[in-house]
Symmetry: C2
């Protein structure tokens, strides 16, 4: 809590109204990696079900798809100007050059995540699998375009 | 997406039904740190408002308190047996000795987060501030008991 209070105190009144106030580059890099890590964990059980490696469980699908939808709203502002370096990252420098394309990708994946959450709510396995496949395509496309294979400094 | 698919494939059918399937200790440590990082970021703007360093904004309070409530459901299973080491961590070894007390703390903070989210929904600044203070107490208490000041290996 002490750390939280210090972090809170560091936020000026001007920026506190923003959901993602600009912080130091290393903090932004860590934040977006944290968000992606939480997303990856939530994708795991859904991927197993989508591939038939685990039996379909509607509750698991709903819980994890809702979490992915929530989390996918968070990381994009942490790719702002000046956050291209500052800590080891797999973020390709193209992110800061092809910003329109990157934004397009972020919007596509958020839309696909919303569709997956809606599909999961129906409890229909087929709809879930189809929507999961669509979300997977948006993940893959953006990672292929903008994620390096190795960490860079 | 490739990483996600690999992670998904690694999950056995038996464990995929669990929201938080047991993974390697370093993955569990990274996951719980990721979750705490996302929580910390969401606490920032709320702390600023609670301390009067930023004007109260009901939408910001609602959004961030809902996120904290969602996130606070996630990290606890990643403190399971065998996850006391494996990567740099501030987790005190007491977590694995005083498990009942740790669980009690995790339940208290989740309850406080739910109360904060409910208070934020009312749009009442006083209720928000009071509930934020209560949540802060649960954070502080558990961090004092179970979080080291420095990372250990």
């Amino acid at each position: 809590m002490k750390r939280i209070m210090i972090a809170a105190a560091a936020l000026s009144a001007a920026t506190a109204g923003l959901a993602l106030a600009q912080q130091k580059p290393e903090a932004e890099i860590r934040y977006r990696q944290s968000v992606m890590n939480v997303i990856g964990r939530a994708m795991g059980p859904m991927g197993a079900m989508a591939q038939g490696k685990a039996p379909f469980n509607a509750a698991v699908a709903q819980k994890n798809s809702a979490l992915v939808e929530t989390m996918l709203a968070l990381p994009w502002d942490s790719f702002g100007p000046g956050t291209d370096k500052g800590a080891p990252t797999k973020a390709d420098l193209k992110i800061w050059k092809e910003t329109a394309k990157f934004r397009q990708g972020s919007e596509a994946t958020q839309k696909a995540a919303a569709s997956l959450a809606a599909a999961a709510k129906t409890g229909d396995e087929g709809k879930f699998k189809a929507a999961f496949g669509e979300l997977g395509k948006t993940c893959k496309s953006c990672h292929e375009d903008f994620q390096l294979k190795q960490f860079r400094n």
